[in-house]
Symmetry: C2
Subunit: 140 residues, 2 copies
């Protein structure tokens, strides 16, 4: 499978550039996370990664998410009363909306929110490191 090989090579590259050690487990996990269009939690990642590479343990998924988050490659989403979810660090700034009926996590595109946040923060004498907005809503 040529595409898969190419992709995995890319992820190895990404890890290397971030100054992280490249291990098969990390490459597998990051491959799965990159292909996910939802926002998987550790259990999801563990199961899907396992299908591809059965040397991966849950502990390593946790450790890898932590490492990738610190390296700024991954964003951790902490929502109420549910395990944390993850996404590859988005190129395009966006926030999230939780559909209360379906449980879906919808991405809110655009930089408007980010702009308002940094204006508001600077009015208080702060500079933003990160921000995250979660909207809980229902379809009209």
């Amino acid at each position: 499978m040529v595409t898969a090989l190419t992709d995995e090579t890319d992820y190895r590259q990404i890890l290397r550039e971030a100054g992280l050690r490249v291990t098969p487990q990390r490459a597998s996990i990051i491959t799965i996370l990159s292909e996910a269009d939802d926002h998987p939690n550790v259990e999801d990642l563990y199961e899907k990664t396992r299908a591809l590479d059965d040397t991966v343990s849950v502990a390593t998924v946790y450790r890898t998410m932590s490492v990738l988050e610190n390296a700024g490659l991954v964003r951790k989403l902490v929502l109420d009363d549910a395990p944390a979810r993850y996404e590859m660090m988005p190129q395009t700034d966006h926030d999230h909306l939780v559909d209360l009926d379906s449980g879906d996590l919808v991405e809110i595109p655009g930089t408007e929110i980010a702009e308002l946040m940094s204006r508001v923060a600077s009015e208080l004498g702060y500079e933003i490191v990160s921000h995250h907005t979660v909207i809980r809503a229902r379809k009209i």
Copy 2:
């Protein structure tokens, strides 16, 4: 202490109006939470409430927070890697900024954020139930 008595009576009233049973534990807990200017977690609440009323258990603090949250009297703040914190449901809409150096939780006043949120949500075909923004920042 006349003020305390008056206050506690108020809280009993609030509980009654929300259709909730009035117990001494609930009155004590809500008294403590109302007087807090920080955003206490369950452990904080438990310890402070204990000083006032030693019949309260941690389990009851958890259960009471849950009941009050459902009744819309209390807001639960879920931040990364830390136990949940609580505040009385704010009259004046506000969000939160975490000072990364001091750990302080600063309130961001104003309705600007809320307005943007509901505009953005309605553009996606949703109506907001609640929203919460957390900014992580450092002093300039």
